[in-house]
């Protein structure tokens, strides 16, 4: 258990630093889409919920798992959808190369 904790903390720390460096560079122009895409990515918690449903260990746990899966899935679908809609709106006044 002790080594799992340390492993986890290492991962957490590295991801935190990477997140800090990467997100610092994001233009304020895109802060709203940033928030909606991190919301969608955060909903990766759905894998925990899916495993909970899959383990099927008790009826209450199954129900909690199903509700959790629904909540997280709606964040994934809604989050990616609205981020994409927002980003499609951002157009430059300079002609694009396409």
């Amino acid at each position: 258990m002790g080594s799992a904790l340390i492993d986890g903390l290492f991962v957490f720390m590295m991801a935190g630093f990477i997140g800090f460096e990467v997100i610092k560079r994001i233009s304020p122009l895109l802060h709203t889409p940033l928030m909606s895409i991190t919301n969608a990515l955060d909903a990766i918690a759905v894998v925990g919920a899916i495993v909970l449903v899959g383990r099927h260990e008790s009826r209450p746990a199954l129900i909690l798992g199903i509700l959790a899966t629904i909540a997280a899935t709606s964040n994934i679908v809604g989050g990616f959808l609205i981020t994409d809609r927002m980003l499609r709106m951002f157009k430059s006044s300079r002609p694009t190369k396409s």
């Binding site: 991801a15 997100i23 304020p28 895109l30 899916i50 383990r55 609205i82 809609r85």
Partner: protein, 474 residues
């Protein structure tokens, strides 16, 4: 549970790829040209992670349950998709409340999974101290984010009163609540079997979320939404620790640091510390605003006068604020932009970091109205240019243009970085009436010699200006 070492390595590999894709997704989000590639990376990572998890369940699951489990999972995924699609298609003006709502959903998922893990652990093999402590972090952060975000969404949707609700001893009460939750958590870590205390802890976390957002007013929403974003991420990371899932730890850490950075940017833009935003300075604001305010003369102008002044200008800066969003005026503002640009006038937009109700709110609204994003300027980039600006047109913004923030030490917003609009040759302010804004702070800008007040609804007034401009042209 897992018997096949092979499948464990396989799922680990899938999660590794997904983690890399998530980081790339955020990296590509840094500028508009690559941002949509970022979404694709995020989506691929998500599909891989979910697909891999489903596959592993099939390999490891108890045979008699697996069909039923898959059934339930697909039903849940289907319902979630059905709820997610309309949430992804809301109006751009409703994006702040949608975002708050999705923080609540994310935290709801995390809290439910944590709760299930707790009861399964207590009834089964017991819960080691380390796992119990991260589990407590998970459900306390998750619980307060659920109710806090729902409150924020309610305030933004105006189903709840937007006005800050304060009472005596509020901070003491809130901190005590949190302290009690932490003490219970400490006890549970050593005695996880005390199942009667667990619901009490979750209940207090839920109550704390409500109490946290009750004293917060509309103008502080950008900070609060960012902060709740950060909490949602941290609770997901804590869930990763509970489940020993590194992908979750990484996604949670990314979300947590994103929310944290945004909160810092927002509080800096208001010259307030975190604690100041959270533990409400609004009692003082109301007291300061109650000071005597005699009516001072202001100059006002009609749409055709305003159109004449704009047509004669060569450099115009438009300053949008929450009022533009409320009046849904962004499309009319774009027409004004087009009409002025056609006359060869240089039109730019000055975006204050806390304009609107969430970070980047104004940018999204103007982008929706097809204003090119390279015309949207950040505060620091445009503040030096106001002295060479002929006309600054302020649409529904107030505090972010208030020169008292620079000069009047007694002002509640003293020290907040503001747009230097008063340096421009002429200032025009579209405003419904002379009533001070939501925070009740008087704006000396309105009484200055170069300022013209344009009284009326933002959308109607801007469309009248556009009419005058095209009429004069034809």
């Amino acid at each position: 549970m897992t018997t096949f070492a092979g499948s464990q390595a396989f799922i680990g590999f899938i999660y590794l790829i997904a983690s890399a894709l998530f980081i790339l997704a955020l990296k590509w989000m840094n500028a508009p040209p690559t941002a949509r590639r970022g979404i694709l990376a995020g989506e691929i990572g998500m599909v891989l992670a979910i697909g891999g998890t489903l596959l592993q369940l099939g390999i490891d699951g108890k045979l008699e349950h697996i069909a039923i489990s898959y059934g339930w999972i697909f039903v849940a995924l289907g319902i979630g998709t059905a709820i997610g699609i309309p949430l992804g298609l809301v109006q751009m003006t409703a994006v702040p409340q949608r975002t708050a709502l999705s923080h609540a959903f994310g935290a709801f998922c995390v809290t439910l999974v944590g709760t299930a893990e707790y009861y399964l652990g207590v009834q089964g093999p017991g819960i080691p101290a380390f796992k119990m402590s991260v589990l407590c972090c998970e459900v306390i952060l998750g619980g307060l984010t659920v109710t806090g975000s729902l409150m924020a969404a309610g305030k933004l949707q105006e189903v709840l009163p937007q006005r800050p609700i304060t009472f005596k001893g509020q901070n003491f009460f809130n901190l005590s609540l949190l302290a009690v939750a932490v003490v219970i958590a400490g006890y549970l870590v050593h005695n996880p079997a005390a199942t009667h205390l667990y619901p009490v802890m979750v209940g207090i976390a839920l109550l704390f979320g409500v109490m946290l957002v009750i004293p917060i007013g509309g103008a502080d929403m950008p900070t609060v939404i960012s902060l709740l974003n950060s909490y949602a991420g941290l609770s997901a990371a804590a869930m990763g620790f509970v489940l020993g899932n590194k992908l979750l730890i990484i996604a949670g850490a990314l979300d947590g640091s994103s929310g944290f950075i945004l909160s810092v940017i927002m509080s800096k833009a208001m010259n307030r510390s975190f604690t100041n935003v959270l533990f409400g300075a609004f009692g003082q604001v109301a007291a300061a605003a109650a000071g005597a305010q005699e009516a001072r003369p202001v100059k006002s102008a009609s749409p055709d006068e305003a159109a004449g002044i704009l047509a004669a200008a060569s450099k115009v800066v438009i300053v949008p604020g929450y009022g533009m969003a409320v009046a849904q005026a962004q499309h009319k503002v774009r027409e004004l932009y087009d009409s002025l640009s056609k006359r060869g006038i240089d039109v730019r937009f000055a975006i204050h970091p806390v304009a609107g109700r969430m970070p980047g709110h104004m940018n999204v609204l103007l982008a929706e109205a097809d204003v090119p994003y390279d015309r949207l300027m950040e505060m620091d980039d445009i503040n030096g240019d106001f002295a060479q600006t002929d006309v600054s047109l302020i649409i529904g913004a107030n505090d972010v243009t208030n020169p008292a923030a620079k000069t009047d030490q007694s002002s509640p917003i003293y020290g907040m970085p503001v747009l230097d609009v008063e340096k421009s040759h002429t200032v025009m302010v579209i405003k419904r009436s002379m009533n001070p804004g939501f925070a009740g702070i008087d704006n000396p800008l309105y009484y200055m010699d170069q300022t013209l007040m344009l009284f009326g609804d933002a959308k109607v007034f801007v469309s009248n200006i556009v009419k005058e401009l095209s009429g004069g042209h034809a």
